[in-house]
């Protein structure tokens, strides 16, 4: 995979070089934009694990962004700003939520799976709205960003940026390892041909559930990052349109590819940003663009870029 190595080399260098370049050009806004892109790349990578590799069309993946966000926001609301604790809770609670949601929804398939995952996320969304203590549907400002024993200062845009970059690379590498492992092979097999997988002696349920929980945990990490990024907690983290956006990033970037989630998050959020700077009716343009992208890049950006199977 020489093309792949080239891509990752270039991507890491460019992403690492962005902060000094943006500051030199006095465009700190780009720091913010790309940081947001990378946080969504983590969320999209977690969805890709179950949607792209596992064939589980979860239409409620924003739930884990929400649970992760609330874990950090609520602790911070009560004056607990220890990041280790906050993020551990964010990841643990999302994994738990994923275990509960997955245990039920993985028993179904097709349209029912889509609807059940959506329904669970709507439930959490309305739960968020009903929590007046934490701002209800207006949400609330994050009292302070997570603190990591003075190790990283999230109030420094550059330090926070590099932390997000490192975590994104870690998550992408982890999913790369997972899908190629024996566990990942079972997940891919269950997607490709469930009847054969059972005939050959494997019960996919437990493996699919484990993948669902791993994806939930990664989504929770993205949620913890996102709430620190916006410094604002709102139920909108869990809006169903957010789940749709994540799905779009995965499909646009290229399902079942390592680079897909990053490319999809970049493409969607950057185009969104460019269009919204140009006209307030940007969604009218974005919609058809996305339709064209799906029609012409059937295998997503990564699929078209690398062509051969990764």
């Amino acid at each position: 995979m020489r093309k792949g190595q080239l891509f990752w080399g270039a991507a890491v260098v460019l992403l690492a070089a962005l902060p000094p370049a943006a500051l030199a050009l006095q465009q700190p806004f780009y720091l913010d934009l790309v940081r947001r892109v990378m946080i969504f790349a983590i969320a999209a990578a977690s969805l890709n694990l179950i949607l792209g590799y596992g064939g589980m069309v979860s239409f409620g993946h924003a739930a884990y962004l929400g649970v992760g966000g609330y874990a950090v926001g609520v602790l911070s609301h009560y004056g607990i700003d220890n990041g280790w604790l906050q993020w551990a809770l964010a990841i643990g609670a999302s994994a738990l939520a994923a275990a509960a949601i997955g245990a039920i929804s993985i028993r179904t398939s097709g349209i029912y799976f889509i609807m059940i995952t959506l329904a669970f996320t709507q439930m959490l969304y309305y739960l968020g709205i009903s929590l007046d203590e934490y701002g209800g549907d207006d949400g609330m400002r994050l009292a302070t960003r997570s603190r990591f024993s003075g190790l990283v200062d999230l109030d420094s845009p550059v330090a926070f940026y590099y932390l997000v970059l490192a975590l994104m690379l870690l998550v992408l590498y982890l999913s790369h390892r997972i899908v190629r492992s024996r566990f990942g092979r079972v997940i891919r097999a269950a997607k490709s041909n469930e009847a054969r997988t059972r005939a050959v002696g494997l019960s996919p349920y437990a493996y699919k559930l484990a993948a669902f929980v791993i994806a939930g945990a990664m989504g929770g990490l993205a949620g913890a990052l996102l709430v620190n990024h916006t410094a604002y907690l709102t139920p909108e983290f869990m809006n169903w349109t957010r789940s749709g956006e994540l799905m779009f990033m995965v499909i646009l970037g290229g399902m079942a590819t390592t680079a897909g989630p990053l490319l999809g998050a970049f493409a969607l959020l950057i185009v969104e940003d460019l269009l919204s700077g140009w006209t307030e009716h940007w969604q009218v343009i974005l919609g058809p663009l996305l339709v064209l992208a799906v029609v012409f890049f059937k295998r997503g950006i990564a699929g078209s870029l690398f062509h051969d199977r990764e």
């Binding site: 390892r177 997972i178 190629r180 492992s181 024996r182 566990f183 990942g184 092979r185 079972v186 891919r188 097999a189 490709s192 041909n193 009847a195 054969r196 997988t197 059972r198 005939a199 050959v200 002696g201 494997l202 019960s203 493996y207 484990a210 199977r309």
Partner: protein, 225 residues
């Protein structure tokens, strides 16, 4: 299991789909080492019977015993672990996996649990080596790196059997292994199954009478209702 009790005992098996009774009071014994052919017209319920033996279909009544154990209510994966392996009439392989990975997955399914997250599955010799040996046995070694979707129909039928063998089964359930194969391919397949017959117990559903009469020790005829 005593020496003379059959490996597979089917008693009073019934399976209906609505008003259609696809399996009607089937009794059947298959002894160890025996090749038992099931023949009959299309729609007579041959595949339905195999489905109940492999665990994908639940019978409405009756019992299936394998090696002395009642397996009537066991799910397909559990039966696979008891040593029952099934091939499909309509080729059912992982089209987006390579030939080797298809077979290696079947080996993996019988090599302990798969909650192993780190090491690349391709780099596990305990899976790749047995898979390679099976590919050698069915004559697909030269195609091991090719995606299954790119194989010819005949090669896909060979892969189908390779995946069955990779689970080291005691009982093979073969659903029309010669389906869609040309005359020459069928002859090759018969020779190959003849070799397997010496080492395995088989239930063979087949339309090709040449194959049936060359391979079968006993023939069971199912008729349309």
């Amino acid at each position: 299991m005593t020496a003379n009790s059959p490996m597979l005992e089917i008693r009073g098996l019934i399976k209906s789909f609505g008003a259609l009774r696809a399996t009607d009071q089937v009794d059947l014994d298959v002894r160890e080492g025996e090749t038992h052919a099931i023949i009959g017209p299309n729609g007579a319920g041959k595949t339905t019977l195999l489905g109940q033996l492999s665990g994908t279909l639940r019978p409405d009544a009756g019992a299936i015993r394998f090696a002395g154990e009642d397996i009537t209510r066991l799910a397909a994966p559990a039966r696979s672990h008891r040593g029952i392996a099934r091939s499909f009439q309509i080729t059912s392989v992982y089209r987006d996996f390579t030939v080797l990975e298809n077979v290696a997955l079947a080996v993996q399914a019988h090599a302990g649990h798969s909650f192993r997250f780190w090491r690349a599955a391709d780099e596990v010799p305990e899976l790749a080596q047995p898979a390679q040996r099976v590919l050698e046995e069915v004559g697909l070694t030269a195609r091991s790196g090719v995606l299954a979707a790119r194989l010819s129909h005949g090669e896909q039928r060979q892969l189908e059997i390779a995946m069955v063998l990779a689970t080291r089964p005691k009982l093979l359930l073969l659903d029309e292994p010669a389906a869609g194969a040309g005359a020459e391919e069928t002859q090759r397949l018969i020779r190959f199954l003849g070799g397997l017959k010496r080492r395995h117990t088989m239930v063979l559903v087949e339309h090709d009478m040449d194959a049936v009469f060359t391979l079968a020790d006993r023939v069971h005829v199912v008729l349309d209702q």
